[in-house]
Symmetry: C2
């Protein structure tokens, strides 16, 4: 029983962990190309911060890991990386702006576990703090398109503006005090369909006319809604940079979190969402900081891992296996392994005192591309045969010219 992982959480064994790491490295690379810098914050935050009205409110207690520590402090495991960022910015008012940070770390939610919904998962976030310029929206979207490309994913960024949705909703007879509830229902469109949303709206006593507007295009909306202009400008910029085919206006995109104040986006790949974000110009002020415009995006690393899992086949980073023929050649094997490692090449040696046949079985199973067997002859003559496992080809190499080995091994990968 106690040998299982905690309910709703998972281990990443080597093959999966290596792919996960590759995804995270890709984000790091792309984020840095856009001038974002890394940051880390603690897994635990004061519950009073997590439950602040501007963040998630008192109700969040039911959806997170909440507890009191031995000093009777009310704590919670962070449920996202945006609230900790807002805390850092609010408490460091002298930080130079724009503050462009990325953070790739785990978060925890006490959700009901479902398929592909974990209680622990990894977010890759990038945020721009301190500017209200539409250039920031452009950068976040352009960066997202780059990241998709680098990950080998065909996806789209759906874009909307909360204020536009609000304007259209009010024009369609939704009352101002019903807006939040109305958006919460619209947000479920993918899950429960148009009929489901209609039913919910009716139950809440909200005018359902809005549903007929949700597929409207931006040009037609521009004629009747003032708040369409900013989106129009953003789409022009994206077009000028030749990436408009990766972006799609979607008036039905509401996004659940209440802290968004303007443009919002969602990243979809073959249907499922792998990330989203938007502008949240009031969050930092609501934490007691200065009025500070902010925008960001958050990717779900495990969701991307699911998409890539069956596609990507990773190379083994161990390139050479050194097998002594008998125990007495252990010393020579060690020495050779150390010399090859000093050239920056990944090497394993036999740690199990196995016979050559068993060792070659292991090498094949692990997908290690090259093997060396060391016996009396090799030690005496100070040369060995480097066997390329797949081709069966052997190359003779002197112990004194390991650069030849490095060349052969590196050219094969």
């Amino acid at each position: 029983m106690e040998l299982k992982t905690v309910k709703g959480m998972q281990d990443f064994l080597p093959e999966q962990a290596a792919k996960k790491q590759l995804i995270e490295e890709t984000f790091r690379k792309v984020f840095e190309r856009y001038g974002f810098k890394p940051m880390e914050t603690p897994a635990l935050e004061d519950f009073s911060l997590l439950s602040k009205k501007g963040a998630a409110g008192e109700a969040i207690k039911e959806e997170i890991y909440y507890f009191k520590d031995k000093g009777n402090r009310e704590l919670g495991m962070r449920f996202d990386l945006t609230v900790p960022l807002a805390r850092v910015v609010a408490s460091n008012p002298s930080m130079p702006k724009p503050f462009k940070r990325y953070q790739i770390e785990k978060v925890w939610r006490y959700d009901q576990p479902q398929q592909k919904r974990w209680r622990e998962f990894t977010q890759a976030d990038a945020d721009i703090i301190g500017t209200g310029s539409i250039l920031a929206e452009f950068e976040i979207i352009a960066m997202t398109i780059d990241a998709l490309k680098e990950l080998g994913l065909k996806g789209k960024v759906k874009v909307n503006d909360r204020r536009l949705l609000e304007e259209v909703a009010l024009q369609s007879g939704v009352k101002k005090e019903q807006l939040a509830e109305c958006f919460r229902s619209i947000d479920k469109l993918d899950k429960i369909g148009k009929q489901g949303v209609e039913k919910e709206l009716k139950e809440k006593g909200i005018n359902t006319q809005i549903l007929g507007q949700l597929t409207a295009d931006l040009n037609s909306l521009q004629k009747k809604a003032k708040t369409a202009a900013l989106l129009k400008e953003l789409f022009e910029m994206l077009k000028e940079n030749g990436v408009e085919q990766f972006v799609q206006f979607d008036l039905s995109l509401a996004r659940g979190l209440e802290y968004y104040t303007g443009i919002v986006f969602e990243v979809v790949v073959e249907g499922p969402s792998i990330g989203g974000g938007g502008r949240y110009d009031n969050l930092i002020e609501s934490f007691g900081g200065q009025q500070t415009p902010a925008i960001g995006i958050s990717f779900g690393v495990e969701r991307i891992l699911d998409l890539l899992e069956n596609k990507t086949k990773l190379e083994n980073k161990t390139l050479v296996f050194v097998a002594p023929l008998k125990e007495e050649f252990n010393g020579a094997a060690l020495k050779l392994a150390q010399q090859i490692r000093s050239l920056g090449i990944g090497v394993e040696i036999d740690l199990m005192q196995r016979k050559v046949g068993k060792n070659m079985e292991y090498v094949n199973k692990e997908g290690i591309p090259f093997a060396i067997v060391l016996g009396e002859k090799e030690v005496k003559e100070k040369k060995f045969r480097l066997k390329e496992m797949k081709a069966g080809k052997e190359t003779e190499i002197k112990m004194s010219e390991l650069e030849k080995l490095a060349k052969t091994v590196k050219s094969s990968t």
Copy 2:
């Protein structure tokens, strides 16, 4: 109040976070060179696992973040990465051996916060599971020496064997049932000194004669203790590979954790310990797995960060800043930035609509090495001047030949 980090925990702002990341990447590189593969496990584990007798025992409850979740499960935040590893191995008996995994993740301890002692910190662990061969001890130590070198640290690995310490203690009149208590006191030698340990031993009714033995060298011990032979063999191997000067025998090294069964080590740099480990051949079996020999090492990333903090000056990964002269050149600036980014170069553009002077102040403060100002002339003539900030040197570059820019920028770093 709620804008502070939780007691005993810290944020890593960009400069520190980038250094921390560099340390973690270095470990990853060295671990992979020795054939270790990555793994991740959840932050939370069942308390019944963490408190198992072979692991840390029931008393650990006082030293960890322990709580019950909404489903009334007793959980704890992991206090190390070895117990989760033992769980994974015990529950996957068919895993091919040797299983060489590394894991770089955060752990949590409810310690009394002191200077340089955090309640959240990062461990970089590497373990070899499934072999009792002394070659595994060699690999762990050789890898540690490589890691120190790559990190630019001058350190030593102190090595001992628990069984040797035990043998000498018994010869010195310590009773068998007093061994654990005796080692616990000896472990405090660095903190409370020889007199302090002597006082503790006396209070516990333990023969203090052992204290006279702790500085003995391995050769003299070999004459009176059978269990010195394995250490002797290990030191011979290290000598043959020319790394004996980085290793030091130390009979007083006990290491607190009870699960160690054989050789133990500790890594010290200029005094402070930055890591340690040893052989724990019974832990996996005590979790209900098969009898499985195991050995590993654990580095404290924050301790290394403290050592490097004032030494390492990291290069800014943003190499170019693009500043439009007026708002009307934003589009051209964006386009240029995107083109340079597509060459893999980190670029920031002005997101604050600042004047050129302010922008150059920002560029200097952030240490960005190159800047481009775009105005009417540049846009019209399709060329610009790339300014090297330190030297003040300017190079004229056509928009159509950005490879020239890439060459200049990359050669400067």
